[in-house]
């Protein structure tokens, strides 16, 4: 196993990788930009190294600086996390060239599945159905317009190099050339900013499909296992916000066809790490149809729900495969119970999920039975403007889907983040929503129910309680005296015991 791992990432995923390394006895080195000098992942790792300025292009996306850092600290392996350079074949190759083990698939596998064209070809060759789409050779506005006409509307413009929903745009009118070109330009700029590559892919958009993906792992020698599927249909801005495992309302036969298709593809690719095969699923019952979307050659944000139902540690599996260990496969892979993850983001649902930045003044994360929080922040953390607004992930486990859903709600209600706006309230509205409570929703769910999901759950009594508490705290200044201090109790209930119990609702 490795001695010292450079974690080429930040935030909750960097902290989460540290956690597994602690159990495996691997020393960790965090990297950080100037904006992240005091960030949580820097504190949690065994060591930390500065790699550049705040803009990701000059730090977390700089292959040279990351390789220099890994050499400087004597790392023998590099974990890319997700996002940033995790699906960048050049980075994987640069690690290998520098004598570092890249914790992920080979550069060849990353490159193949990083190309939407190649990935779809691989899927078709493995007998896995794909969504109609094309990466136009002519990437000019005119070329994109022509591709949209060919594919048909509604169409999606997607970064060829990307993943995670970043930079995706919907085009509904094939005839408005100027509008299509404008969307293409915006998508290209976001793609360049996020992935350093503006190439666009044009795909037919299925109406109201579900997003279901299969977790796979392989050792590059043809041995592939799957760890079941996840449903990630609850999305905003084409990005997942609530995920669960197993996928609700899949018949056993559809689940078997789906996981078999994922394994077939990974086997054909001689897939050599942990990865995720994403599908869109249309229809219900045994004749539900599914279409290959992409194969993400990295750890997925939502991997904890798979970990909760299988007991596998997917980061440990990645590290074992990368280290060439024969015993990489998790002992148990059949799911037990149900898990739901909620992404806690610094964003304002009321203004179209606009990302928020600032300082976290207070942070109380829920805990207790069946509750897991993977967090990249704490009290006093700065949320910089430069990066993804994901603060933490709440993942809960329950014996049944409804038990998990209720437990997640209970945990969300006591999850406190003050100082930046978050989507904590929206997450509660999602989990409470009758459509979500009933079972599977489609990827349009958040957009369709936006008004209900953005609404505040606060009634007058909550407003009154908040106003009264805030008035007291504002009067006292930034720090309250200890509870129970005599000065504070004035006006509060101080009834002595007088025989009958003092009933406080």
């Amino acid at each position: 196993m490795f001695q010292r791992l450079l974690i080429a990432n930040r935030g909750e995923i960097a902290v989460r990788i540290v956690r597994t390394c602690e159990t495996l006895g691997i020393a960790t080195v965090a990297v950080h930009s100037e904006a992240d000098r005091n960030a949580r992942h820097v504190v949690e790792a065994d060591a930390a190294i500065a790699i550049g300025e705040a803009p990701a292009s000059r730090s977390y996306l700089s292959i040279d600086r990351l390789i220099d850092a890994a050499r400087a600290v004597g790392a023998d392996a590099v974990h890319p996390g997700y996002g940033f350079l995790s699906e960048n074949a050049a980075f994987a190759a640069a690690c290998t060239d520098a004598g570092l083990t890249f914790v992920g698939p080979s550069a060849e596998v990353i490159a193949r599945f990083g190309s939407k064209i190649e990935a779809r070809r691989a899927a078709r060759e493995a007998g896995v159905p794909t969504v109609p789409g094309v990466e136009p050779a002519d990437q000019s506005p005119a070329g994109i317009v022509a591709a949209v006409r060919r594919t048909g509307v509604p169409a999606l413009l997607k970064p060829s190099a990307g993943g995670g929903g970043k930079g995706m745009r919907i085009v509904r009118e094939a005839d408005d050339d100027a509008a299509v070109a404008a969307e293409a330009a915006a998508a290209r700029r976001e793609a360049e900013a996020a992935f350093g590559d503006g190439t666009l892919y044009v795909e037919r958009r299925l109406e109201r499909p579900r997003h279901v993906e299969v977790q796979v792992a392989g050792d590059g020698e043809g041995r592939v296992v799957h760890l079941g599927e996840r449903d990630c249909s609850v999305q905003r801005r084409h990005q997942k916000v609530v995920e669960e495992a197993p996928a609700p309302d899949l018949t056993e036969s559809t689940r078997e066809r789906l996981t078999a298709a994922a394994v077939d593809l990974a086997e054909a690719a001689r897939y050599d790490s942990v990865g995720t095969v994403e599908f869109l699923v249309e229809g219900a019952g045994d004749d539900a149809r599914f279409y290959f979307l992409e194969l993400n050659t990295r750890l997925q944000v939502e991997h904890p729900v798979t970990e909760l139902v299988t007991g596998a540690d997917l980061v440990a599996v990645q590290l074992r495969i990368a280290a060439g260990r024969r015993d990489w496969a998790p002992a148990r892979r059949e799911p037990r119970g149900h898990a739901i993850e909620c992404r806690v983001c610094a964003e304002d649902p009321a203004t179209d999920f606009r990302p928020q930045a600032g300082r976290i003044l207070a942070c109380r994360e829920p805990a207790g039975p069946g509750v897991r929080v993977d967090s990249g922040v704490g009290p006093g953390s700065e949320v910089p403007v430069h990066y993804d607004p994901l603060l933490a992930k709440l993942a809960v486990w329950g014996e049944t889907r409804d038990a998990a859903r209720r437990r997640a709600l209970s945990a969300l209600r006591r999850y406190v983040v003050l100082g930046v706006r978050t989507n904590l309230s929206l997450l509660q509205r999602v989990l409470e929503h009758p459509r979500f409570a009933r079972g599977a929703v489609g990827v349009g769910f958040v957009d369709e129910e936006r008004a209900a999901l953005v609404a505040s759950g606060a009634d007058e009594s909550v407003l009154a309680a908040v106003a009264a508490s805030a008035a007291r705290a504002l009067r006292q200044g930034p720090h309250s005296p200890p509870p129970g201090a005599p000065a504070v109790a004035a006006g509060a209930e101080v009834d002595p015991w007088v025989g009958l119990p003092d009933w406080r609702l």
């Binding site: 915006a186 976001e190 403007v385 609404a455 009594s461 309680a465 720090h479 609702l505």
Partner: protein, 203 residues
């Protein structure tokens, strides 16, 4: 003070009045005493007990809420029943708490402009300012340019997302206060818009 998007300034800051912003709306609550608050003219009895650090248990009629509070200067943040609020004394409406103006953007990410009346002297102009910390990725207008309502004037990037600041009304660009590559903070003026307003200027 003629900008249609600026809410009327409160007559006078009533001591004890708080603005609670949360869930997309702002409510005004008057704290009458330690045990009484007034919402929409209705008086509500509250009982506040401290519990733990910066935490209170508040009884309001039949309901009971744990409230976490963090104070940040003259503002406070609070969370209760799973909802979060930004709280400040009424009468103080900072730029970044004003309602967002402008016609809905054609893009999927909605409007990003932020306007307020320019200057303390009440000049008949509108200043468009940054809605959040962001990097200026494009300045699409120059001084003297005529713009129509909805025209994009500045493009920002924040957290990998593109935000377009659009003109809330027709007018002429009086000044440009930012340039490509600037890192701007909330409220920082980006451009000043002058010219005909859709309403009478304030006296």
């Amino acid at each position: 003070m003629g900008d249609p998007t600026t809410p009327p300034a409160p007559a006078a800051a009533t001591p004890g009045e708080l603005l609670l912003r949360g869930g997309g709306s702002t409510r005004r609550v008057r704290v009458v005493s330690d045990t009484v608050v007034e919402i929409d003219g209705r008086r509500v009895a509250v009982q506040v007990s401290p519990a733990g650090e910066s935490e209170f248990v508040v009884t309001v009629g039949e309901a009971r809420h744990a409230v976490h509070v963090a104070v940040d200067g003259e503002r406070a943040w609070a969370a209760a029943a799973g909802e979060s609020f930004e709280i400040e004394p009424a009468g103080r409406v900072p730029a970044h708490a004003a309602p967002v103006a402008g016609p809905a953007s054609a893009t999927s990410h909605g409007p990003a402009s932020q306007t307020d009346a320019a200057g303390a002297g009440g000049a008949a102009g509108t200043r468009l300012s940054a809605p959040m910390p962001a990097t200026v990725t494009a300045v699409l207008v120059g001084p003297g340019d005529e713009v129509s309502a909805g025209d994009p004037v500045v493009r920002l990037e924040a957290m990998k997302m593109e935000l377009v600041v659009s003109a809330p009304r027709a007018g002429r660009i009086a000044a440009v206060h930012c340039r490509h590559g600037d890192l701007v903070q909330p409220g920082r003026p980006l451009v000043a818009l002058e010219g005909p307003s859709s309403r009478e200027p304030a006296p």
